[in-house]
């Protein structure tokens, strides 16, 4: 369905992209470039980026290998989607209880200009204690998003501020760093929790 539309509107799309080139390089070629639908995140072992967690530790994709992992992109100036997703994740972790204890849960900001280590520390402190907040230089955030095939875009708002459009799916990886599945925004809890259990189960299988 998606593909057919792309073909049908391909000619118009080429024209639109040509028009945007002058003003919209950042969106088209930059870190905000929309990724084609259906592209799956790389395995964590194939990603390469250096960030800092909310306690000041240097972290990267290799930090996550060895335990099942849940990753979400967002920003702390996000009033709706991000607190909702983080409180959903907190709820899933509560439901899983001890089962989730050996999981990595990471919130990566797409707005490093405002989300300093201190800002991330304060923000994640309001959610489940397992949630880690990662930030870093803009180019490293871009590389992380690239690896996860996540996209983000800075959008100016009235009054001189800006907001960020961003991928709101939650990524689930097994302990070996292979993608297990994604939890889409709005997915009901009765689907989300079993998906997390699957990532945890693959962890157990991988360990034996």
């Amino acid at each position: 369905m998606q593909r057919r539309h792309v073909v049908q509107y391909g000619a118009a799309g080429v024209g639109a992209v040509a028009l945007m080139l002058g003003v919209g390089w950042w969106r088209v070629d930059g870190p905000g470039a929309p990724k084609p639908a259906g592209q799956r995140p790389l395995p964590l072992s194939a990603m390469d980026f250096r960030l800092t967690d909310h306690e000041g530790n240097e972290v990267g994709p290799e930090t996550l290998i060895g335990r099942p992992t849940m990753v979400f992109f967002g920003f702390t100036y996000c009033p709706d989607v991000c607190p909702t997703t983080l409180s959903d994740i907190s709820g899933w972790l509560e439901d899983l209880g001890n089962e989730a204890a050996q999981m990595n849960v990471v919130f990566i900001t797409v707005d490093p200009a405002r989300d300093t280590v201190e800002a991330m520390a304060e923000y994640v402190g309001y959610f489940h204690p397992a949630i880690r907040g990662w930030t870093g230089p803009a180019n490293q955030i871009a590389r992380a998003a690239e690896g996860f095939r996540a996209s983000y875009e800075r959008v100016p708002t009235e009054g001189g501020d800006y907001t960020m459009n961003h991928t709101a799916s939650v990524f689930l990886f097994d302990a070996k760093g292979e993608l297990v599945t994604m939890i889409d925004y709005h997915e009901p809890r009765e689907f989300a929790v079993p998906k997390i259990r699957r990532a945890l189960t693959e962890y157990v299988e991988g360990a034996t």
């Binding site: 998606q2 929309p34 990724k35 639908a37 702390t76 100036y77 009033p79 709706d80 989607v81 607190p83 909702t84 983080l86 409180s87 959903d88 907190s90 709820g91 304060e122 923000y123 309001y126 959610f127 996209s151 875009e153 959008v155 708002t157 009235e158 009054g159 501020d161 907001t163 459009n165 961003h166 991928t167 709101a168 799916s169 994604m182 889409d184 925004y185 709005h186």
Partner: protein, 155 residues
């Protein structure tokens, strides 16, 4: 919510005489339920509030805007998530509610976006939010402020 007698003949008279006395055509039957919001960290980040707006009357009503002493730029926004899983939000414009229908402002969809906060939103406090309608009527609701990680009015 203010209630004024609704008399059709008088309405025209008032219009012609140029008085500013409001005569509502529908918004007096609007009921706002289950309002809630999340606490903020300071005043630099925008806040969001949620609620159900129910039209219990016989006339269609149109929600045109918001005002509140809490924020200089309150606006109804809508979050949308596309097929690629990318979320974005934008002003929702005017919202029409048919008789007997309701519109839900809820996480991930419509929300009252509270930009340029004048004060931090503190858990346990409340703030007044006024909904303005195309007939000139207003409905003010006292919105409870829940925790930053709150999931809804019941949590």
């Amino acid at each position: 919510m203010k209630k004024l007698p609704y008399i059709k003949g008088l309405s025209l008279l008032l219009l012609l005489s140029g008085t500013s006395t409001p005569v509502f055509a529908g918004s007096e039957d609007v009921v706002v339920e289950n309002a809630w919001s999340r606490a903020s960290i300071g005043v630099n980040r925008p806040g969001a509030a949620y609620m159900t707006v129910r039209n219990t009357g016989e006339d269609t009503v149109t929600l045109t805007g918001l005002t509140t002493p809490l924020a200089m730029m309150p606006e109804i926004h809508e979050t949308k998530t596309n097929a690629e899983g990318v979320s974005s939000m934008a002003p929702a414009g005017e919202i029409t509610i048919e008789p007997g229908q309701s519109v839900a402002l809820k996480p991930g969809g419509l929300h009252a976006m509270l930009m340029k906060l004048q004060n931090p939103m503190i858990e346990g406090e409340t703030f007044p939010l006024t909904l303005t309608f195309s007939d000139g009527g207003e409905v003010t609701v006292e919105v409870p402020i829940l925790g930053i990680a709150a999931r809804g009015p019941e949590s």
